[in-house]
């Protein structure tokens, strides 16, 4: 054999062996059929449409976090300007990204501007407010908005990941989705009933312990505001609360009540060390509740606070709603509890949400798809059966029509599939329904490449060339055509990958990989087999094509 040919053969065998290894020889070298199957199933991951499971797309309401930053800035400014003795009339939020400071004492105008630039120059720009004498507008910088958005997205994703992991679901995927719009994609393979996961993921889970102003709870907003003639004291807030029938005897448990609380919390969910559901409270036997403990720092603060506020009510505010408002009986250092009408499951889920930390912003569900496991099985079974049947028909026809050369083409096709699957497992890609479409297009183009070459070889034979010359000329002439068709398709696949999402991307990946494999098998491998065959053949013998 010609040495050139020998090296080509060695290279092909090497590629085949590596592909086989990637598909079934990894991660544990198989010693039984079951292990081969196991390895294969591990390498070729099926998408949710084939395997069954739940697919969620959520949108993080980043605007929440931005508005929150603005709110906090208003609170901080109120305090700091007083400390600095810079007089002003009012500070209020104009919209999510603007703050209006009214009537700053003109003699302190430059001091005010310097203060803003020095302290908050990275985040806020101060400019004179139109139509407000001595008024200023603070504008949240674009760069600050972007960095808040980034931080919010990252934190949301991490929080969701923690929550899902604690739910104990198998191989969940949480990733950013799309290029804009703050979307996160969550995939829960095998999960056929996502109701509980959806509740847990979507809970904001923000816990705050705040001082309750005396006098409440009130049965309506109007009643709460009446004693102070309709105006809340500074730093106070009116929030809804759960009705604890113990505090208002006779009221029906379903009515809502209102509390006036301090806006600034004593401790928040960030200060939690742990949270756990229990039902061993002697005061409330058989009832599920959530116990929490505070970190060292927060415990110190909390201890001081409770010591100085004995006899007052402490509001346990969960997601902006007062869950309960116990009276502080003595100094409390590091633990507390949340009571409510919990089942074991809901207490467990709340503890989980608190442990995982609050979401920095609320979320919206944009999309939810659940493929039941049996439907996934059906799609695979039907899809695979149909694909195998059609593949067999195509192969039989190739052998019938092109005889030995057809067998060569069949070998090239099988190799093409092998390389495609191996490459998919190497990239960790998942096989989805549109991915199967990509495979079908690949096989079609693989058959086409072979047919193109063979028809060309036949033409050359008809023109009276020798077998070897015909094979050479056939491959040479078909080569350009094959490259043109493949590159055109890869160009379009590139756009699909770049601009498409989810299934369209999957299609583009399988297609591109398949086409590259196809150029290798239909041209390089197929030609090498021909050359080997020709080298064994008698000079004047006919080519079986």
């Amino acid at each position: 054999m010609n040495p050139n040919l020998k090296w080509k053969a060695v290279f092909i065998v090497f590629v085949v062996l590596v592909s086989i290894y990637l598909l079934i020889g990894y991660p544990t070298f198989p010693t039984s059929i079951a292990q081969i199957k196991d390895n294969f199933n591990r390498q070729i991951k099926l998408g949710l449409d084939l395997q069954g499971g739940t697919h969620l797309i959520i949108q993080v309401q980043v605007q929440d976090a931005i508005a929150q930053e603005t709110d906090q800035m208003v609170d901080r400014l109120n305090k700091q300007l007083r400390d600095k003795k810079i007089p002003f009339d009012e500070i209020r939020r104009a919209d999510d990204t603007h703050i209006l400071v009214r009537n700053v004492d003109p003699s302190q105008g430059s001091a005010f501007r310097d203060f803003i630039t020095q302290q908050y120059g990275n985040y806020w720009d101060a400019s004179s407010a139109a139509g407000e004498p001595n008024g200023y507008t603070l504008t949240l910088r674009q760069s600050a908005i972007a960095s808040i958005a980034d931080a919010t997205m990252t934190q949301s994703k991490e929080t969701i990941e923690r929550r899902i992991n604690e739910l104990g679901l198998t191989e969940p995927i949480v990733q950013f989705h799309g290029r804009k719009d703050n979307e996160i994609l969550i995939q829960l393979p095998g999960e056929g009933d996502p109701a509980r996961a959806i509740l847990v993921i979507g809970r904001v889970g923000q816990l705050e312990l705040c001082l309750v102003h005396p006098g409440g709870p009130y049965s309506s907003q109007a009643e709460a505001l009446a004693p102070m003639s309709g105006i809340l004291p500074p730093g106070a807030e009116l929030v809804r609360g759960k009705n604890e029938s113990r505090s208002i005897p006779g009221a029906t448990p379903s009515t809502e009540v209102w509390y006036i609380i301090d806006r600034a919390p004593v401790v928040t969910g960030k200060d939690l060390k742990s949270a756990q559901e229990t039902h061993s409270n002697p005061n409330n036997p058989g009832q599920w509740q959530v116990n929490f403990t505070l970190s060292q720092d927060a415990a110190k603060r909390f201890g001081q606070f409770t010591e100085t506020h004995i006899g007052q009510q402490l509001g346990i505010v969960l997601e902006h709603k007062v869950e309960s408002a116990p009276v502080i009986n003595g100094k409390i250092e590091d633990s507390g509890l949340i009571e409510g009408n919990f089942s074991q499951e809901s207490a467990h889920d709340l503890a989980l949400v608190l442990r995982s930390g609050a979401l920095p912003a609320s979320i919206k569900y944009l999309e939810q798809r659940t493929v039941g496991p049996s439907l996934g099985q059906d799609s695979i079974r039907h899809g695979v059966q149909a694909s195998i049947l059609s593949l067999v028909v195509v192969m039989l026809f190739m052998v019938f029509y092109y005889r030995l050369s057809g067998a060569n083409a069949v070998l090239a096709l099988i190799l093409n599939l092998l390389l495609l699957l191996a490459a998919l497992s190497l990239f960790g890609a998942t096989l989805t329904l549109p991915g199967i479409a990509g495979v079908i297009l690949t096989i079609g183009m693989g058959v086409d490449s072979n047919v193109l070459v063979f028809e060309r070889v036949r033409e050359e034979l008809r023109n009276g060339k020798s077998a070897a010359a015909s094979v050479d000329a056939g491959f040479d002439k078909a080569f350009l055509t094959i490259i043109d068709t493949h590159v055109t398709t890869v160009v379009s696949a590139f756009f699909l990958f770049w601009f498409g999402t989810g299934p369209i991307k999957g299609f583009a990946v399988t297609l591109t990989v398949g086409l590259i494999a196809n150029v290798f098998t239909a041209i390089f491998v197929s030609k090498t087999i021909f050359q080997y065959h020709l080298s064994k053949m008698e000079r004047q013998a006919e080519l079986s094509i």
Partner: protein, 433 residues
């Protein structure tokens, strides 16, 4: 043979005479369905254009008449619930119960497993349109569909998880906790394996719907204790939800535009590449032909009332690929023949190129057509619309390569020759591609 002998790179021109004798022998041994024909394709171009015009008109008239394409949930948003029943209720019963839940406008559609006629199934697809944009209540429609189904069968909520929806890990967790085989600490992953077998039985043998948990005693490795643990922790209903899709209206609208833009970008990319490899008019003709294929296929979707879903978009992209492939093979031959036969009239040259590649065109298209036809008939419900797009697309795509794309190039050439001849007459000789 049309009388041209392209010299191969390693061919020895001097020996042709001798080899011609053996040529006949070789030809007899080859199986050939299609000897190189001598068809005047360009002469028939007007019929092709008429045919395409009719197909486009009929299809798009249907789209216009039906007030647009029939979009699937991916694009229009809403709630889809796919239910399999042990014994299906009548559509009237279902409709009545849905109306009680305020879902009177829901679409109810029977689903069949195979494309072959006469196969009834116990599966129903309920579609509820998304009303308003209240994303918080995104799964309220699903809950109401479930209540409607429960009402039909008088099933009350037992508070137990539905076995037909149970994922592997929750079943395995229950078995591990209750330890019905008394394995103690030596259980290892045996309960996981057992859970897998139980679910395999559900998904493969019982088609996803176990109606009586006692059936599980048939599963290899299961004991009465195992069955009773499953019964204590899970319930089964007379129906199983096989698939739920809930898509917010905003997502749907965005996806539709994304699909359109992606397709246009892909076409533009192809146009540039072909213009670079051939001439710009080839690129334009190829892209127009492919665009024509997509439009006709969409027309067929409307005529036969198939839904446009994301997988159908993947199929349309596949068809774009196939059709482009076909066109390029012919263009490639035209390019090659132009170098060899400079004096030939362009239309004759194009005819010859199509005829020379006809055998390949028919073989490839025939084989791929066969593939997608099998997929259409046997691929099951999920692949139905997908393979339908390909069945139509491959026929149209093959036809458009010689029927639309090639004549477009010829028309352009004739038009340019004429306008050059009518011009100053001192145009520089044009450069062959």
């Amino acid at each position: 043979m049309a009388g041209y002998h392209p010299p191969g790179p390693s061919g020895a021109p001097g020996t042709i005479g001798k080899r011609l004798e053996s040529k006949e022998g070789k030809r007899n041994r080859m199986i050939e369905f299609f000897k190189e024909p001598n068809i005047d394709w360009m002469g028939k171009a007007k019929y092709f254009y008429a045919l395409s015009a009719i197909l486009l008109l009929v299809g798009w008239f249907s789209i216009w008449q039906k007030g647009g394409l029939y979009y699937g949930i991916d694009f229009k948003g809403g709630t889809n619930v796919d239910v399999r029943f042990a014994k299906a209720p009548t559509v009237d019963e279902l409709r009545k119960s849905l109306t009680v839940q305020g879902l009177g406008g829901a679409e109810i559609q029977a689903v069949s497993d195979s494309g072959l006629p006469g196969q009834a199934s116990n599966e129903v697809l309920v579609f509820v349109e998304q009303k308003g944009s209240d994303d918080q209540a995104i799964d309220s429609s699903k809950a109401r569909v479930l209540s409607a189904l429960n009402a039909i069968y008088g099933v009350s909520d037992t508070g137990k998880a539905d076995f037909n929806l149970a994922p592997l890990n929750s079943l395995a967790a229950v078995l591990n906790e209750k330890d019905p085989l008394n394995l103690g600490t030596s259980a290892g992953d045996r309960y996981t394996l057992l859970a897998k077998k139980l679910l395999d039985y559900r998904d493969k043998v019982a088609s996803g719907l176990v109606t009586d948990l006692s059936e599980l005693s048939r599963v290899d490795g299961s004991t009465p204790a195992v069955v009773s643990v499953v019964k204590d922790n899970f319930s089964v209903g007379p129906f199983a939800i096989r698939n739920t899709e809930i898509v917010g209206p905003k997502v749907g609208a965005e996806l539709k535009w994304q699909a359109i833009w992606v397709t246009l970008f892909a076409l533009a990319g192809m146009l540039v590449y072909i213009a670079f490899r051939f001439e710009w008019v080839f690129g334009a003709a190829a892209v127009l032909a492919v665009f024509h294929d997509v439009l006709i296929t969409l027309g067929f979707f409307s005529l036969l009332h198939f839904e446009i879903s994301l997988t159908v978009i993947a199929a349309l992209l596949t068809l774009v690929g196939y059709s482009m492939n076909d066109t390029i093979v012919i263009f490639d031959r035209i390019r090659e023949n132009r170098r060899l036969l400079r004096k030939e009239d362009f239309a004759v040259l194009v005819n010859k190129s199509i005829n020379q590649t006809l055998s390949r065109t028919i073989l490839t298209s025939g084989l791929t057509f066969l593939t997608v036809l099998v997929l259409f008939l046997m691929g099951g419900q999920v692949l139905r619309a997908f393979s339908f797009a390909l069945v139509v697309g491959i026929v149209v795509g093959t036809y458009s390569s010689f029927g639309i794309a090639a004549p477009l190039v010829v028309f352009w050439h004739h038009w340019r020759d004429k306008s050059e001849a009518a011009g100053s007459g001192s145009q520089p000789a044009r450069k062959p591609a």
